[in-house]
Symmetry: C2
Subunit: 81 residues, 2 copies
């Protein structure tokens, strides 16, 4: 299976990178942009072919390594290779 | 509109962050993981309500700021606020 994981900051957690992007977009002349948040996007390939097992494995990877669950949420999408 | 932008390294571009994640996952006991690639995920809100105009604006933002188009691809998703 191929897994696509989005790791985003939880609501309320300060996001200085997002703020920097927002200010720079405004300075470049892009108006009407707000609420910019930057997160991580991770793609990986799993030998596991069963969707439920693959989801459980990727969830464990997120909890242990990919996301800091104190301040970040994660979202897992799976698709066949 | 709300825009969700994924910025990923082009195929063939070395990804040391992805390699580091892959090695660490293996060291943590997650086997059968390969092809790990890390990219960026950016969410933003646009005052623009028309989908075609919003897409054009976000595309321009990607070309000018959000992605380095020499080595990165970007993917734009739009949804109503």
């Amino acid at each position: 299976m191929k897994a696509k994981v989005k790791v985003t900051l939880k609501t309320g957690v300060l996001d200085p990178q997002g703020k920097a992007i927002e200010h720079t977009l405004s300075a470049l002349g892009f108006g009407g942009v707000s609420g910019v948040r930057q997160g991580k996007y991770i793609e990986l390939e799993l030998a596991e072919a069963d969707e439920a097992d693959a989801h459980a494995a990727v969830k464990a990877m997120c909890e242990k390594l990919l996301a800091n669950t104190v301040i970040e949420n994660y979202d897992i999408e799976l698709e066949p290779l």
